[in-house]
């Protein structure tokens, strides 16, 4: 029985470390909550991410799911060094990102792009669509003249299902879904290696979701892109991910293969999450077992003791409020952080 800390946790990792593009170890991101007008004092911490470890192989997609506020976006932003983590290690192609200086990080950033969650605020309202998409091309010197620039922007627009003539329009002239596609095109523009896609298709119509997902998969294959795919649509996550991690209140609760985690969910939280997904078929949906979880995710400012899920957990025992469960390999290649599941072993 191994506990997670990534380096040894993934039996696979030890043998094929060359495959690992990104390795996150015991990552913590605490945001200080301050008070006092002149001398700001930290009076507490929001434990947005509280000791998570995982790895992402080159060319694969790791899906990250979990309830609002559980730390998915923060995890993504820490990886991109948009936040300076409180502690922990983030290795990208073997380079420790947390110790890079600004210049070194700027070079690194071309390899790591992000697609944002919110299509309304992530686009500069005063820039034309063409310039929003093309800006990174200029920043990173990726085109040599105006024709090439225009052509590339047009091509990117077509990739995401927009018309090249829309390059002259401004974001407010597009509906929410169309704006999100502009964000996807912008991220793709610099041919990155790694993309943190933070709810990239949540705002899109399903037929377009399927196009973007197929497109992301095609591009992934073509350029061996690696994705960290954050989403709350579990069906979409299962489709696009090779492996899936389930987060809750700053912790990873379960990590496994996409099929394994859906066919054989182990953690009680994963089970509840899966059962909350409505199936697009009234007849099939009515036949599914439903576990309606009560309550909300507790505040990360004051997380419950022991297992953070225990106040909402149907399996919770007294011990759960005392012991912090570790992510352990409870079945082959299947990691879960719950002391009450078979295979967890001694606490």
């Amino acid at each position: 029985m191994t506990t997670m800390p990534a380096s040894q946790a993934q039996g696979q990792a030890g043998t094929a470390s060359g495959d690992i593009l990104l390795e996150v170890n015991n990552l913590k991101m605490y945001f200080p909550v301050t008070s006092g007008l002149i001398f700001q004092r930290a009076t507490g911490y929001v434990k947005a991410v509280d000791g998570i470890s995982f790895f992402v192989r080159r060319g694969e997609t790791l899906g990250l799911v979990g309830e609002s506020g559980c730390g998915k976006t923060t995890t993504g932003r820490c990886i991109l060094q948009l936040y300076k983590p409180t502690s922990g290690s983030i290795k990208f192609e073997g380079t420790e990102l947390t110790s890079l200086n600004t210049n070194q990080m700027r070079t690194m950033r071309r390899k790591m792009q992000v697609i944002f969650q919110d299509p309304y605020s992530s686009l500069n309202p005063r820039m034309t669509t063409g310039n929003i998409i093309g800006e990174p091309l200029i920043v990173h010197n990726m085109v040599s003249n105006k024709e090439e620039y225009k052509e590339r922007v047009g091509e990117l627009l077509r990739h995401v299902g927009l018309n090249p003539y829309m390059a002259d329009r401004f974001p407010h002239e597009f509906s929410g879904g169309q704006r999100q596609r502009i964000g996807v095109a912008r991220a793709l523009s610099v041919n990155p290696e790694f993309i943190v896609a933070d709810e990239p298709v949540s705002a899109l119509d399903v037929s377009i979701q399927a196009q973007i997902i197929n497109l992301m998969e095609e591009l992934q294959e073509k350029f061996s892109l690696t994705y960290l795919f954050i989403a709350h649509d579990l069906a979409v996550v299962r489709h696009i991910s090779d492996r899936v991690g389930v987060m809750y209140l700053g912790r990873l609760m379960e990590v496994s293969d996409r099929n394994e985690i859906y066919i054989n969910p182990i953690h009680p939280y994963t089970k509840a999450l899966l059962s909350a997904v409505p199936i697009p078929d009234p007849i099939a949906d009515a036949q599914r077992e439903r576990i309606l979880m009560t309550g909300e995710v507790p505040s990360p400012l004051n997380p419950p003791s022991g297992c953070v899920f225990h106040p909402r957990c149907p399996l919770a025992t007294e011990k759960c409020s005392q012991v912090v469960p570790q992510l352990r390999e409870v079945e082959n290649n299947h990691w879960a952080a719950c002391i009450n599941v078979p295979g967890y072993g001694e606490t």
Partner: protein, 349 residues
């Protein structure tokens, strides 16, 4: 059940520099008292504009309701002056938006916001308004409402804010609530809670609900009837069972086939609807879906199909409705017109 809302040939347009956007282009439907109607369709197809038109909240300029009738309890609200409309809007129909922060005032406590609405629309005193505000928060499942009511919107989580929005919508006992993507920004367990809440409250109080969403699962679970919209028009309408088990418009079929389903094995590739919806400034002649349709025939390029009856309570706006049997949903079916030569414009047999 009595008819609460009748929308007849509603048309809303935006007059922009690039031309006239026909955002809502002649839609007709009705909503029964207490029913839940799902409104589904592609991004930009006019769902929000059609909802805002019902509330007469279209920004003018550039927008204008240019035609049609909206009969609410038999009265054409498009003819009301703005004062009367404001009265109806607060008291009889309410709206819940996707992004609660845009409709909550960030500098006022919930108590102020809720009680002001109640004072305005229900003639309550300040004190009554305050009491009712606490009641409302309790009713939508916000723990410790006495304390929470004195907090500001930013002190609430996304799911909690959406509960607050529902509380506000319910505050004046409306007959109709229009929820525009009420749970899109929320994750699934909270979505389930919010939708269960809306469903039980609408049942309890007999409130009709129009839910705008692109989540076909949500519609399947919660809607009684469904309108599928495309390019400013309703292209299919029926009960949820009819729409999901016997879709009769190629667009609906395409939608159902493009979603991954948790209850089925993972498919190697998703099956999207290729292409993109038309620009509503230049909607082509004939059927607007034609360019993306695997079933299209010549007639589709020239004649715009109206909603035609398929079975009792089920309409589809497709010239080839008859040819779309139940096999259309088969994962492998690509539409008979394409099976021979892969060319979507093959003539009908």
């Amino acid at each position: 059940m009595a008819t609460l809302l009748e929308v007849k040939d509603l048309r809303t347009q935006f007059f922009t520099f690039s031309g006239v956007v026909k955002a809502v282009d002649g839609i007709t439907y009705e909503v029964e008292e207490g029913e839940t109607l799902g409104l589904v369709g592609e991004s930009g197809c006019g769902k929000s504009v059609s909802a805002l038109s019902l509330m007469r909240l279209i920004p003018d300029p550039p927008g204008k309701i240019v035609g049609g009738e909206v009969l609410f309890e038999g009265e054409d609200i498009l003819r009301l002056d703005m004062d009367d409309m404001r009265r109806i809007r607060g008291a009889k129909m309410a709206m819940v938006f996707q992004e609660p922060m845009t409709s909550l005032n960030p500098v006022l406590t919930l108590e102020r916001q809720l009680s002001e609405t109640l004072q305005l629309h229900k003639g309550m005193t300040r004190e009554q308004g305050r009491k009712e505000a606490v009641n409302l928060l309790a009713r939508v499942g916000i723990p410790d409402p006495e304390r929470r009511v004195r907090q500001y919107p930013h002190q609430f989580s996304g799911g909690m804010r959406q509960r607050v929005m529902i509380a506000m919508a319910l505050s004046c006992n409306p007959k109709l609530i229009i929820a525009d993507e009420p749970t899109t920004a929320l994750d699934v367990t909270i979505q389930a809670q919010i939708l269960e809440l809306m469903k039980s409250l609408t049942r309890e109080f007999g409130v009709a609900l129009i839910v705008i969403t692109h989540n076909l699962g949500v519609v399947a679970r919660y809607a009684d009837r469904v309108n599928i919209m495309y390019a400013g028009k309703i292209i299919e309408r029926g009960t949820a069972r009819q729409i999901y088990s016997n879709p009769r418009h190629p667009y609906t079929v395409g939608l159902l086939k493009s979603v991954p389903r948790l209850d089925q094995p993972r498919r190697a590739k998703l099956d999207p609807i290729e292409g993109q919806p038309p620009d509503l400034v230049n909607v082509p002649l004939g059927c607007a879906f034609r360019a993306r349709c695997r079933w299209a025939v010549d007639k589709c390029a020239t004649d715009t199909p109206p909603l035609m009856s398929v079975e009792d309570g089920h309409w589809s706006a497709c010239w080839r409705t008859e040819d779309l049997g139940t096999s259309a949903l088969d994962v492998n079916a690509r539409g008979p017109a394409t099976s021979a030569n892969g060319n979507a414009s093959a003539p009908a047999s």
